[in-house]
Amino acid sequence: MTEAILASRRRASADAPPLSPHRTAEEGGCGVVGFAANVPVRGRHIFEPSVQMHNRGNGKGGGIAAACLDPTQLGVDSDTLKNDYILQVALLDPEAEKEVEEQCVSPYLDIHHKARVETQGDYRDFGLEVKPPDVVRYFVRAKQGALDAFAAEEGLSELSGRALEDEFIYRNTNRLNATFYTSLGEKRAFVLSHARNLVIMKVVGFAETVVQYYGMEDFNAQVWIAHQRYPTKGRVWHPGGSHPFIGLNEALVHNGDFANYYSVSEYLRQHGIATQFLTDTEVAVLLFDLWTRVYHYPLEYVIEAMAPTTELDFERLSAQRKPVYRAIQAMHMHGSPDGPWFFIIARSNPDQDLYQLLGITDTSMLRPQVFALQEGDVTIGLVGSEKQAIDATLLSLNQEDPRFRLVADRYWNARGGSSTDGGAFLFNVQGNGDGYKLSCTDKFGTPIEVDQGQWRFDPEEAAIAPDQAQNLEQALSAAPEGYEPYAVYEQAAEAMASWSFSQLRWFIAQVEKVAESGDQGTQWAIELLTLLNDRRYDTGDKKRSVVLQLLRTSIDGILHRTPAIAETKGTRYARIDWETRGDLRAPTGDEKVLVVYAHHFPPEGDECDARVEVEAYHLGWKRFIVYGLKGQRFQGCGLGPATEDVRLDIYGASGDYIASGMDGLELQIHDNGQDQLGQITKAGTLVIHGDVGQAFMYGAKGGEVFIMGNGAGRPLINAVGRPRVVINGTCLDFLAESFMAGDPYNGGGFVVLNGITFDKKGKVVALDNPYPGANLFSLASGGAIYVRDPHHKLVDQQLNGGAYYELTDQDWDLILPYLEANERHFGISIDDLLTVDGVKRAPREVYRKVGPGQKQMSPKEAIPE
């Protein structure tokens, strides 16, 4: 069957013009996001994350896809939705409708329903510069006669009904595009999508304008993906190059740029596939369709063909997988995409009532990606370029439907082409007759599990004092003078496991009361709630994500109630926001802390909140609390040197580049940090109470940095001088490449990598492998990495130029103060770190040192004289 399809396609494409070595639609990068839920979700919720990622696009291309739709909204019955192809034609030239229909629709397809997608007014009112196409939506099946003729002519009679019809629809679209798009200078029409139970819309503009312009705010679907495009090819006058692109039953959005577009196109050409839109995204989805629909490869192998498993990860594959993967690579390496890419794919399989959201990263993990999963009354899986887009989606959903919560149960990154997760995750929305279930697996089919526990709480219900109320009440009533926040934190953390949500809410309410008692109370309450937010402890049968949601909402509330800067109350806190930014002034009276509500500030530029902070610093402010972030960047940048007396605390979904350039100040992030943090940092303290993103501390010269969780790829590249860093989790790959941080014993720098995580009870547990990456300390000439690796899981193959050394007393003396500070920041005790399999060991039995090897690799040895 496969051969028949290929043969027929080759005949059909024999006259295609020669491939041009150069793409016409070049693009560098973009913002991508997608989510899948077990319940229908309205289009307005793809809006918010799209807006959040404006700075990843330039308004020259945006698009969305939606799958698992609501038949009533489409004017059809559920059988039609299930069985018919939804052919959506974009009319760049509205006059083309009749011709398109006469040449490519009516003769071959039975139209069961036809509608012109309504638009919501003049496109200019939506900020669009280019009029979006008129879209005609047909619900169609192939005419039996046309299908028979097709099968006979193309030698496809072996194909079963649906497979034949799929191919027919696919080829009909090719023909339509060739006639009304590819062959024309002035393009007239093209097919947006033709899948079953999946639609694509795209415009020249930002993605959310699609939703607005075509009135999809209330459009229901269970899988959504969106794309903000940043094409660098000049003027764009139609959205043919915008994402998503289609195969047959899938829509794909892409962030990245292939390094081998031409040879992938050539591979497709050998298989009778002519490209029509000249972008790498198109060839990506065509490859995907070829390997899934025509070759019938299992999804795992399609992913392997796209993002091959190499190096140490290949070695670590199971004996069963190795020969299979080896064959896949030998067969498909030529045609697979190189360069940076991250795909999000929405797939529809109505026959099995299965809808999928898939995120795949390239082997080198060159584009940012975050996955998240939240389970509860409703279940949702999310994937995006930035965590803040995920948080924005949850916020948007939560405001409409509180069954969606503000914090996901789990956030994670994929390790591209790896033996651990394969660099790809799949969210399955599976129908079971009367509803849908959502599950998540990695490339290998291993289920992704999240923290289990209670999630339901009723905000209206009365709060109840817990059993331990007496002690706590005593402490809280004596607060703020009587008890240090830490003392109360310890009690609360201890008691937390036994509390119900109502009891927790009682506790929070008491803390808020303290906050209302004045400056000192506010400070006390913020510190306490921050500790509870930052630290790990047993939350009992309550989901930690829900506990965090309650705590964070409370912190935001307290900060929100601090006096506005215009009030000039002279108390400890003064609050500034977008509306009041003009009121910025020097601190007066007892004013110490400038509270910045960043929510409505732009993420960068002269108007961004980080600029306000720099100006405030020059006016004399030294202490900052920034909250309500949704991806705003650059906090802690631009303050210049000698800022030892400055401190910033960051709450919310913070953005990229925080503390990049930091030279003296202290900055704490009370959540995960994003990408490019701490670049060129010279001095100061950075504490991240969560994970941190890509290229962290690139080119750093110094600073003391503590990460509670994991670093993503490429941390500390080209760091010099004396950066001293503790990472409690692990890193994806390329840790401390070209590290040049001198001699650690004499003022140089180092990294302590603890390779631990926390169990459900908040206890420290070792990761399976402290560092799974294939590259460690490559080409480094100075500094050291101290890895907690009692079972010697690290192997020589991970090194390139470095060497393992036994830990000496001098080494331990060197890192001990940092582990002590680490304990202060995160409560991770040195005893816990030195305990292996329940037994406390000597440091040299637990830690290993990685330092520069004896011989430095040099591409040019001295020419012998």
Partner: protein, 974 residues
Amino acid sequence: MGEKYHVEVGPTQPRFTPVAKLAAMEVEGCLGCLKCVKRDSCIYDVYRKKVFDAGQVVDTTDSMCISCMRCVQECKKNILSRAVNPQFEAMGDEYWRPDIIATLWKQAATGSIPVSGAGYRGPFAGPGFDQMWTDMSEIVRPTRDGIHGREYISTVIELGRRPERLFFDEAGDLAVDMPPMVELPTPMVLDLPPWGKIGPGTRRAVALAAKAGKTLAVATYDEAAGLLADLKANLIVRVDGVPADLGPLEGAAMAEMLYAPGVMDQVAQLKELRPDLVVAVRLPLDENAADRAAGVVLAGAEVLYLQAGDNGQGLGKASDTFITKLIREVHLRLVDEACRDQVTLLAGGGVALAEHVAKTILCGADGVGLDLVLNVAMECRLCHSCSEGFDCPVNLDTIDEEQGKKRLLNLVGAFHSQLIELMGAMGIREVRRLRGEMGRAMVFEDLEKMSFAPIFGERVTALEPAKAAPAPELAPGTYSSLPVEITEASSRYRNALTKYKAERLTTCVACGKCAEVCQFGVHVKAGEKMLAPRNRNCRGADYCRSIGSYCGDACPVEAIRVGQNPVWKTFGDPRWPADLLVATWIQAETGQPPQENLEYRKGASGGGFDRMDIVFPAEPPDASFGPDDVDLSLPLNRRDDDGRPPVEIGFPIYGGGMSFGSVSQATMESRARAYTALNSFTCTGEGGFPPVLEKYSDNVITQVATGLFGVREETIQRVRIVEFKYAQGAKPGLGGHLLGDKVTPAVAKMREAVVGNSLFSPFPFHSVYSVEDHKKHVDWIKHINPRALVSVKVSTPMDVDMVAVGSFYAGAHIVHLDGSYGGTGAAPDIAKKNIAMPIEYAIPMVHRFLSEEGIRDKITLIASGGVRTAWDVAKAIALGADGIVCGTADMVALECIRCANCESGRGCPRGIATTDSELQMAYDSDWGSQRVINLFNSWAIQLRDILWRLGLKSVRDLVGRSDLLTHLDYQKKA
């Protein structure tokens, strides 16, 4: 498959001293002075280490000499000279040029990739492989730094037949038998030598190298049966049909048959007997190659070996066609037949350099066969003595197999590393994905069409250089200088390097007749003595005879000899010929265009600027203004959307980045002082902001390069312009290289790195893998310094126009294009020559693209990389640049001779690009800055003259006026 490929290389001395490029000459009259240059001025102690090998009749001074010419210039009596070694020039042929043979020898001796300073030195483009540049990645996609092992770049290929697709069973296991396949970790096999004095040692050396390098060597059936029987696992055994005795094939890696009609029947027979043996078919790349290839592949061929001639030429009737084109034809034919992916293509013939491996693969081969290059690695001089029945000068047949193996392995290792450099620059991490990827190659013909045809019309000559017409002389008259002080800054050296040399024999009677006759002041009589001839002024015997005043004819005792100075041919290169170097020195000395008879406007590269002329109007220029009224100033901030202050420079040139470490502190300060005096800028480069530059902060650009060395908020905040160095023209797609020798304590301190350890800046910016990352990056710098302009320095890949537009939208004020022939302190030679396009192509492409986008007047377009003269400046601006960045010319002003030894050891023998404690004291910044000021003053004079004669009152009026240019190889359409 998981294992990283590593070739064990190591120094392997040649058996015969390599033929040196230059030879030393000494004429009579040595003073015997104790301060002999042979001791003091030779910083690499070539003379002191001198050994004379009577057996080989070679003097090691010649092979150790790095051609810096200091000894020639410092000799008190000016009697020392160097000349081109005729034996060197006689090596090889037009294709296997002496410089190719010399670099192969070096690679075979060391296993290291050739790295050197200065920029590319060769012709603009050439025939064969030199018609092709490889693309690089920047901003829109990252490069991969494979060479330093920062990232794994796989060079694995599999030889064998592939099925169309795979089948799996329910359990997900393979449900097909995979055909036999030979996996090689490197895409190079070692072929039989096409000719040469070959002995058993030579043959065993090749097979041993194949084994050690985990690759394969082609061998005859008899060799597999005997001499190489122990190495069969690494052999491709050539058989003629199905041999009666299959024994010698037992355990062989592969077999091969020569193409003949019906060959596939023979292959099938052999396969029937040995189903697990991969059998290749060797096909001559002649006029039938594509047809035959399609035929055998459709008949089931597993591997094809496409064979071209020694010089890469096609065979049979295709002898006029080069291997690249022929492979392309075969590849595309197989794509059309939909069977390309089923077969493996190897190609050989003419692969002489590492870049040829990558280019062959780009054209469509999966792997490459090395043939004649193996002989060269074993010291063959390609003299053909053996073919003529004479002795082999290097006794190739007697080479010890271990020695030969090591040299071959070094070659394979060096080629492999260089392949990774090119792939890394392209951002490709799998050599299997490089195959046929013509989207990442740039071909001379296409670039000419794309970039030049819209300007110059139709190309009328092929690559062979036609003779250029002389450019018009500077209009006579006096010109006012820039508002800077111009004082003479004479050479630091005793003897000028001159085109002609007049010598007086001891028979001279000091009559002074010559001084009377000479019109150029060569001969000077002082009292009763004659002074040493001032050779710089000498115009040569022919010229003086033609004007009837030749000193030699006037000498009563025939004591004068005037001739071409042999030294003239020993320095300079097509991009910077000796004429241009000396002319630039003179300008730096005097501040005026040279009066001597030297070509100071263009080089001799045979393409680009060197083939362009400016068309001056026949009518006299506008009399309403004079040359002095021409305005050379250039505003750099043309954005009106971000409220940043205007910055204007006094003339349309600023200084390119050179880091502390790559050049000396005096060099940095000289440039900073000079550019400050000229109301322009210089740039820190990537090695930090040395305190000595702080007082020039208003005229210094802080560079933020991929290594981020020495970059702090402070250094970003103190300047008016911040430059992102995304790439550098001399090594596009590679990071900065500062080799360990130059990482002195002072350099290490500035960069906060480790003394003596090489510093390879990563590539790319690890915070920028895409254009939206780029915007974020620019936003970051703009946030740190709200008053600074941002310049984005990029190289010139195929999509440079997109990069430029993307940079504008990212908020940059300046897009700075650095063409591929730019300068460097250290770069792999393969990068200097092959990656990215020359600036002459990039400027008009970007100018046009920005204009079409409607943003050309909102961004400043700066060009660099191969701009050597005032005339180049004018041409670049006419092509579409607003202004120029200079670097190499500044170095030449400081008396750089482009010996290209900036990168290692003590660095520059002339004290410019060095951090050596002694050498960096060679001059101070008073002298240095005056030299740079003088040079640019002379350029300003020339620029004003050019503009005035074009009737343009401002240099800004010249931008994009490509209608004022002609190209000698083009005919403009009417």
